[in-house]
Subunit: 353 residues, 2 copies
Amino acid sequence: MKASLIERNSANPILQTTDVKPSAEGLKVIGVFNPGACLFNDEIILLARVAEACQQESGWVKIPIIKLDDGHPRLEILTWQENGRHKIDKSDPRKYLIDGKMYLTSVSHLRLVRSKDGVHFTVDPEPFISPVTSAEIYGIEDVRITRINDSYYLTYTAVSGEGHGVVLASSKDFTTIERHGMIFPPQNKDVCLFPEKIQNKYIALHRPLGDTFGKPSIWYAESPDLLHWGNHSCLMRPGDNEWEQEKIGAGPQPIKTPDGWLLLYHGCGHNSIYSLFLCLLDLNDPRKILKRGNFPILTPEDKWETNGFFPNVVFSNGWVLIPDGTVKIYYGAADNSICLAEATLDNLLKHIG
Amino acid sequence: MKASLIERNSANPILQTTDVKPSAEGLKVIGVFNPGACLFNDEIILLARVAEACQQESGWVKIPIIKLDDGHPRLEILTWQENGRHKIDKSDPRKYLIDGKMYLTSVSHLRLVRSKDGVHFTVDPEPFISPVTSAEIYGIEDVRITRINDSYYLTYTAVSGEGHGVVLASSKDFTTIERHGMIFPPQNKDVCLFPEKIQNKYIALHRPLGDTFGKPSIWYAESPDLLHWGNHSCLMRPGDNEWEQEKIGAGPQPIKTPDGWLLLYHGCGHNSIYSLFLCLLDLNDPRKILKRGNFPILTPEDKWETNGFFPNVVFSNGWVLIPDGTVKIYYGAADNSICLAEATLDNLLKHIG
């Protein structure tokens, strides 16, 4: 039997909504997915996105949002009666259009989960990072974790009425958190940091989103201090194939290899199916693409990947390189649960060779 | 007779397409508008946006774009026959949708024009800044000029298939130019710089553009070096009135007054009519809005403002404070010509008082 490039764990999905306690009364966990990942001491830590919606009641639409009272966050439930007086478009389960205004159907926060073996995780009872600023009142999503020196830098999507921007935070101990402000203004998502300076500059990949000419692509940016970013340029556009024709975006922090920076990224293709891809960027100038895989390394196949809150999605913003050379790829399945797939770094490099 | 707050110059429009020589054969100047402005030695310098389209031919659609051959820009004319084989949507004169792809109908560059009296201008025969990078191949638009110490910093919109981003350039002599890369990635426009550091940080206003929740608004950002930007936050949203209900964006560099930073900005309201507004920001923290005018200081009235390439637009990205206390506001009229209006700084401050 031919060995696969990448092996799904037999315990998949390794985390499900039933494993997570809601953060407040009246809320229901509808997704635990898209985790950032890192090694911390002798554990693998994930910061999972936990999406919470309201307990629904027939004939009513209820949407949770965060209100700020003098800067203090408070959960509020917005309610509309489905009696024909309101124009309610529910065609996208992630966001409703109500009387012409868009609302997310859930609010996300980041929950810390930890494991010794990388498969069996303990879920913290409380959120690790919750919305607290005006840029975050619709939620916090899809964090990437990058260790630089002795700090873990978190880049997450902050959502509000102003759109999706990307905020930087950091922690040294996964207990206290420092927020560093919004580093990429709306519309932006999918920001990962390189784990070291290159040519004396910090490097990020990001994914601006527009509605004019091009398809959403992966962009490059530089910084002297991680807080301020410039010299933006378009690095990689969606390939003209069924797997990435709609948009692409960077995954977790790139892994340094002798051959180049190994980048995991997602493509959204035909019928909004999300898959995972690899490419290799030049060690000294990541604006140079050395190799790009022609085929996805992972596409939705298992039933929890093809069915769920948003079907046909495998999406990764967290992976961990274990000292034995194994790469553990944590990924969100159908915006609903967390799965694990493993491969050796050698095989991943061969795949794009 | 009651004196107006703001007086249009009787020579308006002070610059028209017939004053400008095309930059290449086969091109036609369809607009000279939206100039950045500054005092330089004993002259007022404008960097006007010059939009050039192809000489049109009945039965054909022709669109100019810049191609890069080994990094060297070359003008190319794209051509489609209007024989029904192509789906051509010309409903917006600024951009056509052809077979599902969007194209600008013109390519813009920046042209230097100079004047001793601020009314009669001499137009340089050649472009001052033309598209030369892959981010600029659809054109360069709507520059703001800010003097900081002995350099003039230019922030202009660069357009390409990747969308609208904002590039920083600088000049000390208006002869040589240094480019500093893209400082705000797509979709962004309307970037002005404050003319000095505040609390040891450079400050910019910008206008991210999204297609999700909010209306395009004016944002704040900080930088240690003008090249890298962070700590983004939403400063000011469109007011719920007929003049700015669609979107707002910052105009030229704010003017420092004892009362605060005076900001000129535009609103796009009902029926896509563009008007000009004033507000006053805190001297020590421009994130604080001290005063905001309830009514526009200028709305399209004259026939070259209400008629033109894009009708009903007054748009300013250039003003100059003369030592006698007069503010000369240069503005684009209907995306077609350049006009001048004048007011005393005192009266402008009283208007928002």
